[in-house]
Amino acid sequence: MPTDVRLLSDLDRVIHEPARLALAAILSVVESADFLYLQRETGLTKGNLSSHLAKLEEAGYVAIEKTYRGRIPLTLVRLTDAGAAAYKAYRARFRKFLEKA
C-alpha cells in the first residue's frame, strides 16, 4: 500500500469524524468547557452533541463531569491525556498526509 494511502487509512476513526474532530480541536485548546459552549461553537444539536461526546467518552478521549454552579446543572467536558495524545497524533498524521498528497 502506498505510504500516503496508509497514512490516511491509519487515521484514528473516532477522531476523524468531522463533528468529533471539531470537538477535539476545541477541547485541545481549553482546560474544560460546558455543554452550551461546545454546542454554540460546533453548531450541533443537543442530541448530536450528546451522541458524539458519548463516543469520545467511550474511547476514553474525553471526561464528562456533571456538576452544579449554584443551582444550575453544569456538564463540564475536558480532553483526557489519552484524548490529547490521540488528537496530537491525528493532527501530525493528517498534516503529513497533506504534505505528501
Binding site: E41, L49, K66, P73
Partner: protein, 215 residues
C-alpha cells in the same frame, strides 16, 4: 473538510468576543493614567510624592488583581449564561521563552530608565515610546488571535503616543494623558464589543429538563 487550525484559533478568540477583557484592561490603563496624573499634581518634594513613587509596584499589582477579579465576576454573570462556560489552558512558557521575555523586559526597562535620566528634551519622547511599545504588544496579540479591533487599538496606541509627544505636553503629564486616552480607547472598544455581544446573544430562558445536563 474540517479546518482544525481555524477551529483552534476561533476557540481562543472566543475569549475576546464579549469585550470584557478590553473593558478590564481599559480600566487598568485609566488607573495608570490617574496614577501618573497624581504625580504631576502632587508637589515633587512632598512626602506624598515619595509615597506615590514607592507605591507604584503595589498599585500595579493590586490593580491587576482587582481587575482580574472583576473580569472573572463579569464573565460569570454575563458570558457563561449566554454562550457557555469555558476555562482556557494556562500555558507554562518554556524556560527559553521566560529568559527571552525577562531579557526584553529588562532591555525596555533599562532603555526607559536611561531615557528618563537624560535631559528633559529626550524625556518628552516617553509618551511616544510607551505608545509604540504598547502598539507592538497589541499588534502581536492581534496577529496571534486574529481579533480585527486589536489592530485598530495597536494603531491608536502609536497615534496617541506620537501625537501626545508631538503636542509637547511633557513627560509625566504626557504619559498620564497617553494612558488616559489609550485606556479610554480600550474601554470604548470593549463596551462596543459588549453591546454587540449582548444584542447577539440575549440571556436564554432557564433550562428545560432536556437542557445541557441531558447528556
Amino acid at each position: 473538510m474540517v479546518d482544525i487550525e481555524k477551529i483552534e484559533k476561533r476557540t481562543v478568540r472566543s475569549f475576546y468576543d464579549d469585550g470584557l477583557f478590553e473593558v478590564a484592561l481599559g480600566l487598568l490603563l485609566l488607573l495608570l493614567g490617574g496614577y501618573f496624573f497624581a504625580q504631576t499634581v502632587v508637589p515633587k518634594d512632598s512626602r506624598l510624592s515619595s509615597v506615590l513613587s514607592i507605591l507604584f509596584v503595589l498599585v500595579i499589582v493590586s490593580a491587576g488583581f482587582i481587575v482580574s477579579r472583576i473580569l472573572r465576576l463579569l464573565k460569570r454573570r454575563i458570558t457563561y449564561p449566554r454562550t457557555g462556560y469555558v476555562a482556557f489552558k494556562k500555558k507554562e512558557p518554556s524556560p527559553w521563552r521566560k529568559i527571552a521575555a525577562a531579557g526584553a523586559g529588562a532591555l525596555i526597562g533599562a532603555s526607559l530608565a536611561a531615557l528618563y535620566a537624560l535631559s528633559p528634551s529626550v524625556r518628552v519622547l516617553l509618551p511616544a515610546v510607551n505608545g509604540l511599545l504598547f502598539a507592538i504588544a497589541v499588534l502581536f496579540v492581534a496577529n496571534k488571535i486574529g481579533v480585527i479591533r486589536f489592530y485598530v487599538l495597536a494603531a491608536a496606541s502609536a497615534v496617541i503616543g506620537v501625537g501626545v509627544t508631538a503636542a509637547g505636553i511633557g513627560d509625566t503629564k504626557g504619559v498620564s494623558l497617553y494612558y488616559g486616552l489609550f485606556g479610554a480607547a480600550f474601554l470604548l472598544s470593549g463596551l462596543a464589543a459588549l453591546i454587540f455581544y449582548l444584542n447577539r446573544f440575549p440571556r436564554p430562558a432557564p433550562e428545560t429538563p432536556e437542557g445541557p445536563d441531558a447528556h
